[in-house]
Symmetry: C2
Subunit: 126 residues, 2 copies
């Protein structure tokens, strides 16, 4: 994707996606959608992502989805209070191996008992 | 995540994510953000996903991101006209192996020369 910063900007041809399911999350945090939203926004900013917008949805009786539009692609969180778990994902087109820092920051705030972590390169160019 | 449909609804413990980079996409289509948005919405509806919201961004001078909030998780598209490519992703919590039909419908409309396809299970429960 392009950002126009006074000159032509070409996205690196290789991006990176980090995703994880956090198990054993504290129930009160899992049901505090506003706090989860704030944590996600804070850690993205702390890792110097540029937030262009977001949309979120509070499910009834519980459950939360937030999608964050980044200049560098996107991030998402889905909660599953019925399983004491949440899904965290960030796709960054800043370059190879990106996304680990924001994951670490998020994990520190959520403090899960167990994490199923995955990452992969996404090659958009030749 | 939960939907309240007159009774307690429990999300299946295993969801599925399909993602793909489409290479060799027609340039005029890659720059037609409104058409890409409509195609994505149409194929999600055709595969009976429930669209709860969306946010999109038109980058300058080119490039497009759209994030679609689904009752069944989320979908996203990012375009890279500088590489004649786009990224398509859908995460569905409807159950194992879901997402292939909407991918096929999307691919048929986009008609890329080559596709790098990936899929994986996402286990949120025990």
């Amino acid at each position: 994707m392009y950002l126009f910063l006074g000159m032509m900007y070409k996205s690196p041809s290789i991006g990176h996606e980090v995703s994880a399911v956090f198990h054993g999350v504290d129930t009160s945090l899992l049901k505090d959608n506003k706090r989860l939203q704030q944590i996600l926004i804070d850690v993205l900013k702390a890792d110097e992502f540029t937030i262009l917008g977001e949309t979120h949805f509070d499910f009834k009786p519980q459950g939360f989805t937030i999608l964050v539009m980044l200049a560098e692609s996107h991030a998402s969180v889905h909660t599953y209070p019925e399983y004491n778990s949440l899904y965290f994902q960030v796709y960054s087109c800043r370059g190879p191996k990106d996304g680990k820092r924001v994951f670490d920051l998020f994990k520190e705030k959520i403090n899960p008992k167990k994490v199923a972590f995955k990452e992969r390169a996404i090659t958009v160019g030749k």
